[in-house]
């Protein structure tokens, strides 16, 4: 049995979680997930500004902080912290934590290969809209293929203490140690599917140990000290989900069910580069306090195509807010919204979308919100999105004047004009897997 912990569900997750995982009990592997779909484009821009950047900057200081524990307890780390510059990330880890052996997994970054792909007839059409990639070629900011667990397992086999990848699947981070330690082969679909589903359960960190849990949330203990998840994996594909003793949160069948369904598509076809996992075969069993046994998982052959994560510059947006108090807080907010829209109209400004929400009334649930006819205060939130940056910038100047020139009690403008933000959009596409060759490089 090996123990694989997840200490980071996204870049920005709790900084103490990975430290506590290596301090508070036994683990063999620490998986850390840093990349969301648009993170790559942000990192690409950072790299263009400075060739030594382009990776998750929280990661090297973390390794320095836990360096001694990793060595004492022989814990290996697997992270997709490399972003678009895994080598620079590895060098920084080596600089801050000289005793760890670092390996990087390369080959996911296809930003410089897109024109070659297009010339060879790969259309890379948008999986959601069907549009060909050529429609946005000039606006692309980053392009990466999702790679699977086998290249990461290869890096572990090279003796790395810390494996740094770029755009691998979140589930690969947890599956890789199982492949490495149990010698699972590429055609062992059921085992690979089991490891993939284990990875899915823990990839969002504490979401499988009681975080963001709707079931019985008020009685989930000590969430301030919530324990992050640990997979106890067996060579035959069975595994348990648990957390360190004495930590907060809860691991139960109900909690694990919620996370199994999180961001799930067709449950019979959970597609990864390693296999296709079938969530309708999962059997869960209560294994006692804070422990769930998982078994029965079946899987099918890996796909011939790999998914590309492409980010491109889409346009601009800004979201502004004003607060109105009772009496008639909602009526005042609605009046202010009408005035702003009329003034934008008079200026002749065109937007792709203008969207208004009334905080405290319907912002989250829209038309199905519980009616609240006379709230004590309402925050008016107006957003615009468009291709014309000047129009969006002009919009940001149209809210605050209402404090003096609109309905009474307008307040909450202390932060000034809202910022204009670039909208970086995501373009999911497919590419034949034989075009993606990965390699492992040990950084001394």
């Amino acid at each position: 049995m090996i123990r694989i912990a997840n200490g980071q569900g996204f870049w920005g997750d709790w900084l103490e979680a990975p430290v506590r995982l290596v301090e508070q009990g036994p683990i063999d592997y620490l998986a850390l997930d840093y990349l969301a779909e648009i993170t790559m484009s942000i990192l690409q821009k950072q790299k263009e500004g400075d060739p030594n950047l382009g990776y998750a900057r929280d990661f090297p200081p973390l390794i320095a902080r836990i360096e001694r524990r990793l060595r004492e307890r022989d814990i290996k780390v697997i992270a997709n912290a490399g972003g678009v510059n895994p080598i620079a990330c590895a060098r920084e880890v080596r600089r801050l934590a000289p005793s760890v052996k670092v390996a990087v997994v390369l080959g996911d970054d296809v930003f410089g290969r897109l024109d070659g792909f297009l010339a060879a007839g790969h259309v890379m059409k948008n999986m959601d809209t069907g549009e060909p990639l050529s429609a946005i070629r000039g606006r692309i900011l980053s392009a990466n293929a999702y790679i699977g667990a086998f290249p990461l397992a290869e890096a572990l086999a090279a003796g790395a203490d810390v494996v740094i990848a770029g755009r691998c699947t979140d589930t690969a981070l947890s599956l890789a140690p199982m492949i490495h330690r149990f010698g699972w082969k590429p055609e062992e679909w059921d085992k690979l599917a089991a490891g993939t589903i284990a990875g899915h359960i823990v990839e969002c960190g504490a979401q499988c140990t009681g975080g963001n849990c709707q079931m019985d949330w008020q009685r989930i203990p000590d969430m301030a000290n919530i324990g992050y998840p640990i997979i106890e994996a067996e060579p035959d594909g069975r595994f348990s989900i648990t957390k360190h003793q004495g930590t907060g949160g809860r691991v139960s069948v109900d909690v694990v069910k919620e996370q199994l369904l999180y961001e799930l598509g067709d449950p019979k076809n959970y597609i990864t580069p390693d296999c296709v996992a079938d969530f309708t075969t999962i059997q869960l069993k209560d294994g006692g306090p804070d422990r769930v046994h998982v078994s029965g998982i079946r899987g099918g052959p890996r796909p011939e195509m790999l998914k590309l994560s492409i980010a491109y510059s889409y346009g601009w947006k800004a979201i502004g807010m004003l607060v109105y108090s009772s009496p008639q807080a909602l009526a005042k907010s609605k009046a202010a919204d009408r005035i702003v829209r009329e003034r934008l109209d008079q200026l002749g400004l065109k937007f792709e979308e203008i969207y208004t929400e009334f905080f405290g009334v319907n912002a989250c649930h829209g038309p199905v919100a519980v009616p609240n006819p006379d709230p004590p205060e309402v925050q008016l939130r107006i957003g615009v999105r468009g291709q014309d940056r000047k129009a969006v910038d002009r919009f940001t100047r149209e809210l605050i004047p209402l404090v003096l020139s609109g309905p009474p009690t307008g307040t909450g403008f202390g932060d000034g004009r809202p910022p204009v933000r670039e909208v970086v959009a995501y373009w999911p596409a497919l590419i034949p897997r034989e075009l993606i060759q990965t390699s492992v490089e040990v950084v001394e």
Binding site: K257, P267, K268, Y355, E357, C364, P367
Partner: protein, 110 residues
């Protein structure tokens, strides 16, 4: 009798681009047939009204006593494009639990 879905089920929701997914799970697996009968894709689509512009797909996971709903064009463009505060649809599962369903006393007996 009419009961809110929240009496027999919990839920978690999230995003996949401009799609929102909602997992609905029976507290008691014996109530799964009630879920499967009452919480149809059509009723979920009708419940959310103008919020969900596209189709709603339903997938069944009887092994977990659960249903998974994929609601297309439900997040105002999704991801970075969306102008909504809940651009990831994280609160939509909680909203769906207010859906009124029909269940008999004998079905709900434990």
């Amino acid at each position: 009798m009419k009961i809110p879905l929240s009496r027999i089920a919990h839920a978690r929701s999230g995003d996949k681009g401009d799609m929102s997914n909602i997992g609905v799970i029976a507290f008691d697996p014996r109530h799964y047939p009630v879920l499967a009968r009452e919480v149809t894709a059509e009723r979920v689509k009708k419940f959310f009204g103008e919020m969900v512009k596209g189709q709603v797909d339903r997938y069944e996971l009887p092994n977990l006593g659960a249903l998974n709903f994929l609601m297309h064009e439900a997040l105002g463009g999704g991801g970075t494009l969306s102008l909504r505060i809940d651009a990831q649809g994280k609160t939509l599962g909680a909203a769906l639990l207010r859906l009124e369903i029909e269940a008999s006393e004998s079905e709900l007996g434990s």
